[in-house]
Symmetry: C2
């Protein structure tokens, strides 16, 4: 929801309660099992309020009592913890070469992680068939979660490219899609009227996952898996712009008109094609084994491969400097395949980042490597539904 300056909303006591429910949930999310007394002491809420709030949350099966109180404030043995038994959230990740489905319960524990080979590129089967495959996978993941007795809080699909807030994929060069109403098609195919279905850019969702897993509130996640895209979190919130079309750094051309773009110079697929010249381009349906081969050759000291990695790092660093000059992140996270190759890419990238940023020391930006793996965007899609609950929007009854 967008707030415009001329149209502020009055606060009422429902807001106060929602805010305080959020305070309790986020305290437990950050600190693990805690007693009511320790929640009150840490949050500044009084004990009666904490009892009332936690009572509602237990009734809704978002919290449970546990014997595992780790501290001495309050009666021993009556700690509260997030309850993973009643709710789950699902993230799907669509790439040109594979589909990923991931589900977590409300406590954040992973319930499933599935990969499916997929031929979703521009030369593939086209959006119609691809959407059916995505819908089928979503359906199977939702069924599995429900068989375990959990209500699905929501499902978010991560795709590369430009995605409107409505869930229409406006343009996805890696998938060859334009104007695909993915959310509408999925909702129609899933036939579960109450289910919250969303579609969003994969880099933005990966940034949300990084933020939730201990990331800094000013972080930018960079993926080179399909072009080069960035997910920009600023002051703890994902930068959405007016229509959601943010983070397209791969589009930048570093030379005169017609020059190669940053995606051409610093993307992972161009790197693989250069580092493995004998590689059959047609066989590039899954980048992961090729990236592993590049890493193996680099480890063995292959000079051409090392030069290709260094070049990729230099160009990437120039792109990261654009980000540092414009949005001044505290942390830049190299994601997915970049993470697997970081040992060779990062030094050159860090040096070019510093050289091309106006502020000393790259404006304080630390260049780090994601530990969330190739499914960070799927994870971000799932946890975005936990975030909604954590900010005080409790789930409706099934």
């Amino acid at each position: 929801m967008r707030t415009t300056r001329a149209d502020p909303q009055p606060a009422d006591f429902t807001d106060v309660r929602a805010t305080n429910l959020a305070v309790v949930l986020r305290h437990l999310r950050a600190n693990g099992p805690s007693s009511r007394a320790s929640i009150a002491a840490s949050t500044g809420l009084n004990k009666a309020t904490v009892s009332s709030l936690t009572g509602s949350l237990i009734e809704q099966r978002l919290l449970r009592e546990t014997g595992l109180s780790g501290n001495r404030i309050g009666r021993p043995g009556t700690a509260l913890a997030l309850d993973g038994s009643a709710y789950a959230a699902i993230g799907l990740q669509v790439a040109a070469d594979r589909l990923t489905a991931l589900a977590v319960d409300f406590a954040g524990d992973q319930l499933l992680l599935w990969h499916r080979q997929f031929d979703g590129g521009p030369a593939g089967t086209g959006p119609g068939r691809a959407v059916s495959e995505v819908a089928a996978l979503a359906q199977r993941a939702a069924s599995r979660v429900r068989q375990q007795g959990r209500q699905v809080l929501g499902l978010t699909v991560a795709v590369p490219g430009l995605v409107e807030e409505s869930g229409t994929v406006r343009l996805s060069p890696p998938l060859g899609w334009s104007d695909v109403d993915l959310r509408g098609l999925l909702a129609g195919s899933l036939r579960q009227p109450g289910l919250d279905v969303a579609v969003a850019n994969h880099a933005g969702l990966a940034a949300v996952a990084e933020l939730r897993h201990g990331g800094h509130p000013d972080l930018t996640y960079v993926t080179g898996a399909a072009g080069v895209e960035a997910g920009i979190v600023t002051d703890g919130r994902l930068l959405q712009g007016s229509r959601g079309f943010t983070g397209q750094i791969g589009r930048f051309s570093l030379g005169p008109a017609g020059s190669p773009t940053l995606a051409d110079l610093a993307g992972v697929e161009p790197l693989v094609r250069r580092a493995l010249p004998g590689f059959d381009p047609e066989s590039l349906t899954d980048l992961t084994p090729a990236v592993e081969q590049v890493a193996t050759l680099a480890r063995s000291g292959d000079p051409d491969v090392l030069a290709a990695l260094r070049d990729t790092g230099c160009h990437l660093g120039q792109g990261l400097a654009l980000l540092a000059n414009l949005v001044n992140p505290e942390v830049i996270v190299l994601g997915d395949h970049y993470a697997a190759l970081a040992e060779w890419i990062l030094p050159a990238a860090a040096s070019e980042l510093a050289r091309n940023t106006l502020a000393p020391d790259a404006g304080g930006a630390r260049l780090t490597v994601s530990t969330l793996g190739l499914h960070a965007a799927a994870l971000g899609g799932a946890v975005s539904h936990l975030d909604r609950v954590d900010t005080g929007t409790l789930p409706a009854s099934p």
Copy 2:
């Protein structure tokens, strides 16, 4: 103040009251004089709450009763309006060629607008002397406002370049300053312990002014007065990054290492030097007359001047595309000298913006021209203190 995810603040009834005070103030800011009944009807607050809130605001001299009720709800003749008589806010703008001071009262009416010639560039008198001149002007503006019986809510100084949240100018190439603790020096020199003094980037403050004067919550303001810098407002808030070092688009190089930067290619001073080759560079202490001369020559159809303007527009459009691809603004506002030359710059800039943005139609970005003049940043500095009150932080007693 930064909110991190792990440390949410509980809500209490003080927050509710502050939020509702803000709702009333912002309703009156947006809609002009209104009766209590009409405020209640428009905001959803009940009448007793509105009476209590407006009572406090009248007591604090932020509102006054007026006979000029424009609507028929409630007793005729008892409308409330923002009261400009008790408080004022001051903005100062530091450029290489001049100082500007501007003050507004709490109702937003301009109380003073002063310009002073200034030799603040790298070849000028250096930060020590320059800071004294800024402090003297601030002192005079504050005295004038106080002589009129108004309490100064705060004073913000706008400078080009990188400014830390603490008010230290980390690096200002146009002024030749680095690590100047402008806020500390000013506060020491003004000797008014209670006075809220701040320093911020000029493009960011100009964006705040645009937002307040009817701007879209996703707007980017671009200035070419000293290098090329952008103030980025997203979802109604100024993008600050981790240290405030945002919007440095002039730093981008559009070619290989060593190539000219966007500031070299699209800045106003390089344009003037190219369009007016006989112009003595040493006389460029004030760009405004030179910009007027360029406009006069363009109006007379001078082909070299028209070509220089078109070139500037093309390069600027490439820079704006970086912004559109990364932050997806709804509106891009060409500020200060660009506004005076927009007739010739804007068509080429709009065309390059669209051509270089991945999203169709530049992601919806409309390219517009500022109407706030050369002192938009000073205005932004002043109104930022009104914004604080409008969000519910009422002024302390003098």
